[in-house]
Amino acid sequence: MSDRMSKAKDTLPEQPSDIGKTVGNVRSANPYVVAENVNVYYGDNHAIKNVSLEIGTKEVIALIGPSGCGKSTFLRCLNRMNDSIENARVSGHISLAGTDIYSKDLDPVALRARVGMVFQKPNPFPKSIYDNVAYGPRIHGLAANRAELDNIVHTSLERAGLLKEVIDRLDEPGTGLSGGQQQRLCIARTIAVDPDVILMDEPCSALDPIATARIEDLMYELSEDYAIVIVTHSMQQAARVSQRVAYFHLGSLVEVDETNRIFTNPRHRLTEDYITGRIG
């Protein structure tokens, strides 16, 4: 690790042999998700190149980088959402609290109950607000009776900061809410399953600035209980919400470090170019 850190940014050559070498600190003090040498191929396309990264318990880590750099793909590896893509192939090792999530006898369904996901576009089910939140607890059997389910739904909406706005219309369709409310509903839906990690794939890209600010506040509150991995296009957002930032470029993880350090003193030239707006 120390050898990687010792590399000065101006001496880094951009050569194929350099693929997979990451600057900064990929380790976490308190690792919960550990990815080692992950490669993803879509057919012949090598989408993720030898990425290693640790994500700590109750840590917010932002994945940034230009479009098509593989940050969303990497995110989807963490809860095996790539499984549904037909010709996708994943190699390497990802473990969650010590369990290999790509092992043959692991049920992706159980994994996704522990690693929740919030998507780019708010995608509430065309059902009532209540049913949206209750869906996860129902399929995982988290409530023994109606009262428990009610409790879970209320708590989750409360934590997502949505309860006050929807308390008197829980049986109205979730699709009738505003964009920002819909996204908070999706977050409530995710935390209703009580996951350990929440993956967020550009959760604010379809929202206006005010709704975005609310979601960012929410993330801050949630980080007390969950590890959050957020993919974002906005460096301001990454700076505001995350403790660590990982910069991806063309499928490689170029640099990982504490947020302050990355934005004030990036060590890799590509990171600096991106942050200063030369790559976009």
């Binding site: 159980a110 109950a113 996901m117 995608n123």
Partner: protein, 437 residues
Amino acid sequence: MLWGCAWCASIESSMSEVTRGKVSAGLARRRRKERLFRLCGMLATTVGIVFLVVFFADLIGKGSSAFRQTFLRLEISFDTAVIAPQGSIDLQYADFDLLARNALRDLFPDVSGRNPLRELNRLLSVGAGYQLRDMLQQDPGLLGSVQSVWLPASSSVDMLRKGNIDASIDAALRPISDAQLAWVAALQRDGRLELRWNRAFFSNGDSREPELAGIRGALMGSFYMLLVTLALALPIGVAAAIYLEEFAPRNRWSDLIEVNINNLAAVPSIVFGLLGLAVFINWATLPRSAPLVGGLVLALLTLPVIIIASRAAIKSVPPSIRDAALGLGASRMQVVFHHVMPLSLPGMLTGAIIGMSRALGESAPLLMIGMVAFIVDVPGGFSDPATALPVQIYLWADSPERAFAERTSAAIMVLLGFLMLMNLAAVVLRKRMEQKW
């Protein structure tokens, strides 16, 4: 018009002299061609519409009279001596026809002789006796009383009344004799002849007598058949569509199934009839003429329609819904049954209705499996011999009597009515389905 002259002039001024000359020389001819082409298109479009108008006019002209039927009013005395000679009445064997004949004879007391009497009796339908029997069965108290009853007239009287028989032609060429003409005229004068609502058409099965023939049997046959078809084709079609859209890997087997479904949709329906005859009747020894077999054949026939429509409906469910459920830890099967199915159900049902309306209009394969028999009884189950509405139309269309032509048209109107209702339902369903995401 695009070719307004001011516009032409402004263009022409910017062209070279030679080009401009050439273009304007051809312009008139080109405009003529344009108009001709347009006219052809208009004519072609009218062909289909004119056909529709002529067809419906012809159909309604021929068929609407069948909904009303000529009835004779007779003073029937339920004479104990005639129908209950031994004191008690045997509904099965009592001669109710004689009651009607006696009543008719009372109106024309001067008719005598075997042949004139027989001619007189032929004014009445053979169904008259059955009607009297049913009356008595419902109300045994009628025995011994005298009632004024409207009884169905024979089909030749009916045709005469509706103006379908030309009384001026030679008596040997028309189905009604001069004496009968006179009697009918007399009855008409007395107000004893009237066109009334033809209930028998909707409540009876088939009959050799046009005035007694109805579509009830055919309708029930079609109903049982469609029930079998729907019960098989909808679940199988939806299941196949779900597999092909949500689970099937893209490989040769899936391609084969896909090609197969598209081709089956275009295989002539009569070939399905051959399949039904060889497999269901000859090999599996299922009963002939049964709605069960008809339903099986029609299910195979409509399966491609339902599969294709269901696949389209499943495709229209946005992937984000699937992602959301997967992300919460739903299995792919749960995603399908909790989210994709409910959302695409209206589309699937639309496909099912359209498939059912095709099945309802289908007749060729039913001819193959023996559903063309002459069946009087209204079928009461899936294995009773039955016919179907379109087949009934085919059978009646073959009958030479003028009165059957009228009934055929009326049966077609009923069939088209059902088809339009079904299509209307499909349109409404489709409108409600058009959900914006």
